[in-house]
């Protein structure tokens, strides 16, 4: 059954907006599945019912205007509904980046993620940034803004469990965000072909409870990590 009910294959969702993405996905899944089944049943019925038999003659018909208007308007309406359903979720994820005091810079380079937290000066992209290779640490239940860039070629930060994907483009700084809902360790592969080492270019996202995160931040960032 799971073969056909694809939702069962989605990785566990642990982000706030992931629910909204999965909802749109689910709606499209059912609409397309039902459409396909109806088309397939119609087609098979016609193939069986109207197979060649001696002495029978095909119906001489060039079409039916009413029917054609119906099957133009109905798909149009469905697609308009899907557009209306998609746009607010998209806008919430991409256009409305929340204010956050936790900004992390992620720079893709062949073939690692270089992760920077701001140092004592509280600013990203300065000399005193604190850098990690291939690991991001964040607290649960708090919006986190990622500043994505790349050193050489285009990479793409993919966090399957957070429904997060954004290309990191050299020469640009692109903002992305997520809010994790469950502590844990989540894989972070590169999703854009970036050279011979593309496969295996991955990092880990560590989502901590607030207490654990504070402890980690004290140890590695030298501060509470909330306002760094």
């Amino acid at each position: 059954m799971k073969w056909f009910y694809w939702t069962g294959w989605l990785p566990e969702n642990v982000s706030t907006y992931g629910r909204d993405i999965d909802f749109v996905y689910e709606v499209i899944y059912w609409i397309t599945a039902v459409t396909f089944i109806l088309v397939a049943i119609t087609m098979i019925t016609f193939i069986v019912k109207y197979r060649h038999r001696e002495g029978r003659r095909a119906i001489y018909s060039h079409g039916n205007t009413t029917l054609e208007i119906v099957w133009t308007i109905v798909p149009t309406l469905i697609l308009v509904v899907l557009t209306i359903l998609s746009v607010p979720t998209w806008a919430r994820i991409k256009n409305q980046i929340p204010q956050s005091d936790l900004k992390i810079k992620v720079m893709g380079k062949q073939f690692n993620w270089e992760v920077s937290y701001s140092g004592p000066d509280g600013k990203l992209g300065t000399e005193d940034d604190i850098k990690f290779d291939n690991e991001i640490h964040v607290p649960v239940g708090k919006p986190v803004v990622l500043v994505l860039t790349a050193k050489d070629v285009i990479h793409s930060v993919f966090l399957p469990n957070l429904r997060f994907k954004q290309d990191a483009v050299p020469g640009r700084e692109i903002l992305g965000w997520f809010e994790a809902t469950k502590p844990g360790k989540y894989e972070m592969p590169c999703a854009e072909l970036c050279g011979f080492g593309h496969s295996g270019m991955k990092g880990w996202l560590y989502v901590h409870t607030p207490e654990e995160y504070a402890k980690w931040a004290r140890e590695y960032l030298g501060s509470e990590g909330t306002k760094s």
Partner: protein
């Protein structure tokens, strides 16, 4: 070209022209069509082998490939990552540019447009010959890339900059340069073909062949030619800029000199999305003609079929941004592209329903071309519906760059275009080569192909929903993908069987070519003009005079005649050449 006086003179042309002018540097549209067909089928073998190597690596990562040891002595037959990147890059490049385009557009465009419109040849026969030979040079340049140091292009068929713009990023030097050069040459070839198709369709229709009496396959090739004429120059120009970045030190796509990596994507997809329709529209046309012929019934909603082709022609230019939702393009632009992408699904839906309407009430003959055309419709429905997931921006965030995309593209270009190609070959083979193909071998080819095709590509949706990225060398490097690995093995086994299923086709094709039973002029009892010419049609296609057209192409089971077909050329009492369509 079409003055009747030429005919008596040309009756002996075959003897006068000699081998070279008849088979190699021919200006006859039918010979050029055969040349494109053989070029495409030869390249399909190469593209298929590359795909199987990719699949081997994905199922059994880093194990020696049987028979590959002589080619990869240093790794004892194991595919290294940079070679793997080359394999999938060249698989897609070859299949798209040197298999589907040459066969559907080059071969069937050339063969069908003059024959179905009642023209003696293309408008510009010499340009037509040049188009093929320039295309063949492009193919040779592309194949040469396999033999240069550093290997062939390895930046994906999309060749995103800066990865493809700087040699050191991939380690390929002349491979990627030749890739660019080949596509620049190919775009010139396509433009020559497109100008010819458009001119022929507009100017060289037989008396009575109005635009709305053209068969849908000709309409689709006409629209395809318009798309190709406008899209291929963009690819050629973009590839030239990429080549300049690589060799002359320009910075079109390189940010360190003020260039913009996303410019490449805008140019590539502005070409690339019309290109998708270049690959699928001719197959839609083929399916329309084959479905009507073997349902023994007029096509349902002919005008709607034409208008939906025209709508796709316009809309295909303003949807390309859906390839770039997570590229860093302004998200507000993404909203506009969602809307246009949803809109372009409507003409495709109309076509699908009209195909079903054509089957309704028919008297369906399950010939081999018909089976392939029916498979085309079913697979195109899946490919079209899976596209809706990508059109929805939030869902695309997750499935972008996963195997869901790989599944979708293969349902469109394999399930769609390739089943269209098979339908076309089985249907027009008797006309093209004057001999019939074997029906039993045709079934032996179709049924396993249909089954293993689905077993290969349907589970890829599941991999994509599970999050498996495309273009990765070894899925077992990722913890979250390890539970999906049995599916990869399953897909590879199916793909190997899919390849084996092509053997009956190869045998059938070559056996029928030389020893198949001779075909009569109209073996399928079809209406369109090509079936009024001998099989195969002689030079200049018809004898003393070209056919006159009295009606549309789909008058099957018309009450006006006893038989269940009514050729476009048969005069009936009361019918006049040049009167409107039914």
């Amino acid at each position: 070209m079409s003055h009747p006086g030429a005919v008596t003179h040309e009756a002996h042309a075959h003897h006068e022209l000699g081998f070279l002018r008849t088979y190699v540097f021919s200006t006859d549209h039918k010979m050029i069509a055969r040349q494109f067909l053989f070029l495409g089928l030869f390249m399909m073998v190469i593209g298929g082998i590359l795909a199987l190597l990719v699949r081997w690596q994905l199922a059994w990562p880093e194990t020696p490939v049987p028979g590959l040891r002589p080619f990869l002595p240093e790794t004892e037959g194991v595919i290294p990552p940079e070679t793997y990147n080359m394999l999938f890059t060249m698989h897609a490049t070859i299949m798209i540019f040197f298999v589907i385009m040459p066969i559907l557009v080059g071969s069937f465009g050339n063969f069908l447009i003059p024959l179905m419109l009642g023209a003696r040849d293309m408008a510009f026969p010499k340009l037509n010959m040049l188009s093929f030979w320039v295309g063949a040079v492009a193919g040779a340049v592309m194949l040469a890339g396999f033999f240069v140091q550093g290997g062939h292009a390895a930046a994906g068929w999309t060749s995103y900059a800066p990865l493809a713009a700087v040699p050191s990023y991939t380690g390929t030097n002349w491979g990627q340069n030749l890739w660019c050069l080949s596509l620049i040459i190919l775009s010139a070839s396509s433009m020559m073909g497109a100008i010819n198709y458009i001119t022929t369709a507009i100017n060289m229709r037989a008396p009575g062949m109005t635009f709305f009496r053209m068969p849908l396959v000709v309409w689709s090739l006409f629209i395809t030619a318009i798309l190709a004429l406008l899209a291929l120059p963009i690819l050629g120009s973009a590839a030239a800029l990429l080549l300049f970045d690589r060799t002359l030190g320009t910075h079109w796509f390189r940010p360190e000199g003020g260039g913009e990596p996303l410019l490449w994507q805008h140019l590539f997809w502005f070409f690339g999305h019309p290109e998708v329709y270049i690959l699928i529209l001719p197959a839609m046309g083929v399916a329309s003609d084959v479905l009507s012929t073997f349902s023994r019934k007029p096509i349902f909603g002919y005008r709607a079929m034409v208008y939906s082709l025209i709508a796709i022609c316009f809309l295909s230019w303003i949807v390309y941004g859906h390839h770039m939702f997570v590229s860093g393009m302004d998200p507000r632009v993404g909203i506009a592209f969602t809307l246009t992408t949803m809109v372009i699904a409507v003409p495709s839906a109309i076509k699908t329903f009209n195909w079903l309407g054509t089957l309704w009430g028919g008297n369906i003959r399950f010939t081999v071309p018909m089976l392939n055309a029916l498979a085309f419709v079913g697979m195109f429905v899946i490919g079209g519906l899976s596209g809706i997931f990508m059109a929805s921006t939030p869902v695309d965030i997750f499935i972008q760059d996963t195997y869901f995309i790989v599944a979708h593209i293969h349902y469109v270009v394999f399930g769609g275009s390739v089943f269209g190609i098979f339908a076309a070959i089985y249907y027009w083979f008797p006309k093209m080569f004057g001999r019939k193909m074997n029906t039993f071998l045709g079934h032996l080819h179709f049924w396993p192909t249909f089954v293993f095709y689905n077993l290969t590509f349907f589970p890829m949706h599941v991999l994509g929903v599970g999050g498996m990225m495309r273009r990765i060398y070894n899925p077992t490097q990722y913890e979250f993908l390890q539970p999906l690995q049995p599916i990869n093995v399953f897909i590879t086994v199916s793909a190997l069987l899919l390849a084996l299923a092509q053997i009956p086709f190869v045998i059938n094709f070559f056996w029928s070519l030389f020893a198949g039973p001779k075909a009569e002029p109209n073996p399928w009892r079809a209406n369109t003009l090509e079936w009024t010419a001998p099989s195969p049609p002689p030079h200049l296609n018809w004898g003393a005079s070209i056919p006159t057209v009295y009606r549309g192409p789909y008058e099957y089971s018309s009450p006006e005649v006893q038989e269940d077909f009514l050729p476009q050329t048969r005069p009936l009492a009361g019918a006049r050449a040049g009167t409107g369509h039914h």
